[in-house]
């Protein structure tokens, strides 16, 4: 019985967490968000879906043709995602490994051109805007390279929201 109650509380806590995140993007205060924000909301709840995952999930919860997603549909679907831990975070060690793979000469840093090539041409490519943002924020001012261990520190800080 105690366990049931506990999981009830858990669920209620999850619901509130999801609703809080959702409402930060609900501009019209009518429990809807633009479909394009779904990925952002999922990420901010600690999930790591792929672009395909996001598209699939959005298709399930979105209203047809209207471009909005209603909290009524989002909440149960997202609760399930969180309970199942469907898109678990990628451990920091893997992230470091990933950078080392890209850093062919093992310099400890990446040049902007190198990073751009990988981020914009491979896998789930960045848009120009995403790329520009990454470079302005994280390229070292003086030597004009990206020190990825520092970058990893930033990316993995405050993980537990």
């Amino acid at each position: 019985m105690a366990e049931e109650k506990e999981s009830e509380e858990n669920i209620s806590a999850l619901h509130k967490k999801i609703t809080d995140a959702f409402q930060l993007f609900d501009y019209d205060s009518n429990n809807t968000v633009n479909v394009r924000e779904i990925g952002t909301i999922m990420y901010s709840l600690g999930c790591f879906p792929s672009q395909a995952d996001i598209r699939e999930f959005t298709a399930k919860v979105g209203e047809d043709f209207s471009g909005v997603v209603h909290l009524d549909k989002f909440l149960p679907a997202m609760t399930k995602v969180l309970l199942e831990n469907r898109f678990p975070p990628i451990p920091r060690s893997k992230l470091l490994q990933a950078f080392k793979v890209l850093d062919k000469d093992q310099k400890g840093y990446l040049k902007p051109e190198e990073l751009t090539k990988y981020m914009m041409e491979k896998a789930e490519p960045f848009t120009q805007e995403e790329m520009d943002e990454m470079l302005t924020a994280h390229t070292h001012q003086k030597d004009n390279v990206i020190h990825y261990e520092k970058l990893i520190d930033k990316l993995t800080a405050d993980q537990n929201m």
Binding site: L24, I90, A98, V101, K122, F126
Partner: protein
């Protein structure tokens, strides 16, 4: 060399490598996007925190003002009590011709030889205006003689202007429009640098809120006024909600002037009251674009606004006074003189908002004093059940009513329907905010004006044959924001408003095509050109600090709320309960669960929160706090803005010092307002801490500093804390020749 290595091996090796590279890239991309999303979340709630607290401060000021008005209306206090607060309701008391000239006369103010600031001669030339700009850039101060002369000339000009400026972009002139500046001289200098100073070819329109919060409000006014005097047909000003002496009491402008101009500051402020009331209410460009500070409502009627006697609204928070016209066709406002303060006049005067009759019909109140009022409240408090209900009824009804409701119920107002309507329209123009839903609702967050929806915009523009509304009043991260289908543009020109890096400023250029062209800027070289998202960290820390202070200030209420969830008295609450309790007390509508990890460091193993530990975390410690009752300290802290405002009201000669007796009266006022008991002993303890030289007077600033009621770093308090120097800083100014 291919020995021993087959082609297919090489190919597999190559493709494995390629796959690894792709996987690596995916990992990084996904992490990065997650990071960006989290940052976006933080940016949003940071902004939310600042705005909630800012607007609730404005609301608190209006509530305080209404409360004081209520007291004034309902009690004939002893002359001491009355003098404490009545003078803020006594606007424009020097108005008979000869007295006016005598009061504002600058001619006998001598400018000492040692004065190194600019000397002005009238009529002003553009060289002088530019010279003034340079002088302020070099941190010089304009001598009070020239300030008064400049303000008098400004007033003479403003009186000739209509309520609604009519601007035209003929001859391919682009007009440059600027939003809120809030005393931030750096931003104005930056705008003039980027865009050029005002001239015949370069007309400017400034959309209100020139003062408060920033530290150079008076300099901004002097610059704007001098350019307006030089180019009266090419520099336009709209009034903002901060061009209002009641608001200035809380947000720093009053203090700035009194600090910079110790001898003549009071006169300067009085003259500015007049000037603010004469500022135009709105501008229309090419008959198609409406520019005003706050916004519109469903009842906004440009015809009514154009015909109003705008100078009757010295503060937009009050209905207009009765007026007489002198034969010289200069309007004279009646002073609420000693002789006039009689029972019949009380019936006629109105405070800003009507109060309902929970305390009984009005005529049995007239002879009560403040003392009676507080005794009555105290007596009520003895009966617990009754008191909570009564407390709620009396003050909640009075303080929380929307002005629309109140206006409609007001029956014995002396103002005619026309003036009531006029007043409401002016309030709307200066205080309203747009919202995304259709309709029009009272703006309860700010306490004045309304929220208006896209349907109202559409309707208004159609009816008036216009195409765009440009307004200010709200801080926007990018300095500007379109809404209502791009038919409403919010423009904000004070960059780094909440903190360094918090937002950009923007101005707009509008040519004959009437397509707004926005230019952004940020007046700080400390931050690199980061995107809004990227500069979140610092602003976030600021916001969280302010939020923690607010939480600490509400400790007693929070404790009560927690105990409700903790019936077994374990000292622990679950995260969910913590969040619910906090929201029920703070009413800031913030995502508390998301914020929890930033606000609560202590946490038990199973995720519950020890709330006593948490309060210790939050506590604000100070050297003087030991012998003072903790809950009194909390009250002090929570209502410090209100406390300071009341101090400044009570400090009738604007000296920065109040007597012990007035100090006690202040506390009486505050205790009535807050519905709480503050004993004489409490007051003595406080006074003793401050009045170290035992001369019977209290230095307001020292008091606020001593109890850590001000924080030099907190941006939201910056309007005050920037010159909240200690008394020794103020004495330095006494030798300054320019005051």
């Amino acid at each position: 060399m291919g020995c021993g290595v087959s082609k297919s091996n090489q190919f597999h090796k190559h493709s494995r490598k390629a796959v690894t590279t792709i996987r690596a890239a995916v990992l990084i991309q996904r992490w990065y996007r997650q990071y960006v999303a989290r940052t976006e979340m933080r940016r949003r709630y940071t902004w939310h925190i600042f705005q909630s607290i800012e607007y609730s401060g404005e609301q608190a000021q209006i509530k305080l003002y209404n409360f004081l008005g209520y007291l004034m209306d309902n009690f004939t206090p002893s002359s001491t009590e009355r003098n404490l607060i009545s003078h803020i309701f006594r606007e424009n008391d020097v108005c008979w011709d000869t007295e006016w000239e005598r009061y504002f006369c600058y001619k006998n103010i001598e400018v000492p030889e040692v004065y190194s600031g600019p000397h002005l001669t009238f009529p002003l030339t553009v060289e002088q205006a530019v010279g003034l700009l340079e002088a302020f850039r070099n941190k010089k101060q304009l001598h009070s003689r020239y300030v008064l002369e400049l303000l008098l000339e400004t007033w003479k000009l403003l009186r000739l202007l209509p309520n609604i400026n009519r601007i035209s972009t003929c001859q391919s002139k682009e007009v440059t429009i600027c939003g809120d500046l809030h005393g931030q001289l750096e931003d104005l200098l930056l705008i003039f640098y980027k865009n050029g100073t005002p001239s015949l070819e370069k007309p400017y329109l400034f959309n209100g809120d020139f003062v408060d919060r920033g530290k150079d409000s008076i300099e901004i006014l002097l610059i704007l006024f001098s350019f307006m005097l030089v180019y009266p047909c090419d520099v336009y000003l709209n009034r903002g909600n901060h061009e209002d002496h009641i608001i200035n009491l809380r947000y720093g402008f009053t203090k700035e002037v009194l600090t910079k101009y110790k001898i003549h500051g009071k006169r300067i402020l009085k003259l500015l009251q007049k000037i603010f009331s004469w500022l135009p209410l709105a501008s229309v460009i090419d008959q198609k674009v409406l520019v005003l500070h706050g916004g519109i409502s469903d009842s906004t009627d440009l015809g009514v606004l154009a015909k109003a006697n705008r100078h009757n609204y010295v503060s937009a928070l009050r209905p207009p006074k009765r007026r007489n016209h002198s034969p010289a066709a200069m309007s004279i406002d009646i002073d609420m003189d000693n002789e006039l303060w009689s029972a019949s006049k009380i019936l006629q005067r109105r405070a800003s908002f009507t109060y309902p009759e929970p305390l009984g019909p009005r005529d049995c109140f007239h002879n009560r004093s403040l003392q009676d009022f507080s005794t009555r409240i105290k007596a009520n408090m003895e009966n617990e059940l009754d008191s909570s209900k009564k407390k709620e009824n009396i003050l909640a009804a009075a303080l929380n009513r929307s002005q629309h409701e109140i206006l409609s119920k007001s029956t014995d107002s002396v103002s005619s329907d026309t003036t009531k309507d006029e007043w409401r329209q002016i309030l709307d123009v200066l205080w309203s905010d747009p919202m995304n839903q259709d309709g029009c609702t009272p703006n309860e967050v700010r306490g004045g004006g309304c929220y208006w929806g896209p349907d109202i915009t559409e309707d208004f523009l159609n009816r008036n044959n216009m195409q765009l509304i440009i307004r200010s009043h709200e801080c926007k991260q990018e300095g500007y924001e379109f809404c209502h289908n791009r038919k409403v543009l919010t423009l904000f020109s004070a960059s780094n408003y909440y903190d360094v890096g918090s937002n950009r400023g923007a101005y707009v250029k509008l040519g004959p095509d009437l397509v707004p062209y926005v230019i952004q800027y940020q007046a700080s070289s400390m931050t690199r050109e980061l995107t809004a998202r990227q500069s979140v960290g610092r602003t976030e820390r600021s916001a969280l600090k302010v939020l923690r202070e607010q939480l600490f200030a509400h400790k007693s209420d929070l404790l009560c709320a927690f105990k409700k969830f903790d019936s077994k008295n374990t000292g622990l609450v679950s995260l969910n309960d913590w969040a619910s309790a906090v929201e029920s007390v703070m009413h800031l509508n913030l995502p508390w669960r998301t914020l929890r990890c930033q606000l609560v460091a202590c946490k038990t193993a199973d995720g519950t929160i020890d709330y006593c530990d948490w309060f210790n975390e939050l506590a604000i410690k100070g050297p003087n706090t030991d012998h003072i009752d903790q809950s009194l300290l909390e009250t002090l802290y929570r209502h410090r803005s209100t406390l300071e405002t009341i101090f400044r009201i009570v400090d009738t000669d604007n000296s920065g010092f109040i007597s012990m007796e007035d100090f006690r009266q202040t506390w009486k006022l505050l205790s009535v307002y807050l519905k709480m008991e503050i004993t004489d002993e409490d007051i003595c303890n406080l006074a003793v801490t401050i009045d170290s030289n035992q001369d019977g007077s209290i230095d307001i600033d020292e008091f606020m500093e001593a109890f850590r009621l001000t924080d030099k770093k907190s941006r939201l308090e910056r309007g005050r804390s920037m010159f909240m120097g200690t008394a020794s800083d103020l004495t330095k100014l006494e030798d300054d020749p320019s005051v």
